[in-house]
Subunit: 83 residues, 2 copies
DNA sequence: TTGATATATCGGGAAAAGTCGATATATTTG
DNA sequence: CAAATATATCGACTTTTCCCGATATATCAA
């Protein structure tokens, strides 16, 4: 999912009909591609968010998720320096 | 453990009486510090080795483990570029 | 060769993570 | 407000991981 969200235009073409990509991709799109149930994907995304890897924005009935690039940079540096 | 092996001289002073640090630290030292059973530590070390994070060298009845710094560098880069 | 020491492997029970269906909450539309 | 849609949360079950004791293997020393 994290890799998918790197290139939302390529991995979630449906999202274009639905809304732009500014806020990210909504849960339903990710769920469809993942082939897991809605509840599983929702929980998974919320875990990734709590971990700081993605950000969410609620717009109406949809929740959009997008990557927080800083977190990946930080993780990479953390491994370099602390591990 | 991976962090301990970064500074063996500091984290495993006993090892000095036992042998040098060239080959790394032996399982018993790591086990004592970890506070886990011998079997658990041995298995854990072998998993880390299979993953490439540490290297082992058998000398007599002892097995010495030390870090493979390249693996950490590679992981850091992998996160930067692929994730 | 026998006993002692160090490590590795095996099998099983406990803890954690993954996944689901059912249901709750929030929003939009009529 | 009621129905429809999107997402979140809950409880239960399954799978995986963690960790242990018991045992096997390898080496050393007498």
């Amino acid at each position: 999912m994290l890799e998918w969200l790197k290139e939302p235009e390529i991995n979630f073409p449906e999202q274009l009909q639905h809304a732009g990509f500014e806020h990210g991709v909504c849960v339903g799109q990710i769920q469809a591609k993942a082939g897991l149930t809605q509840s599983t994907v929702s929980e998974y995304l919320s875990i990734l968010q709590r971990a700081g890897f993605i950000e969410s924005k609620r717009v109406g009935q949809w929740t959009y998720y997008k990557r927080n690039e800083g977190a990946f940079e930080a993780l990479s540096k953390l491994i370099q320096t602390n591990l």
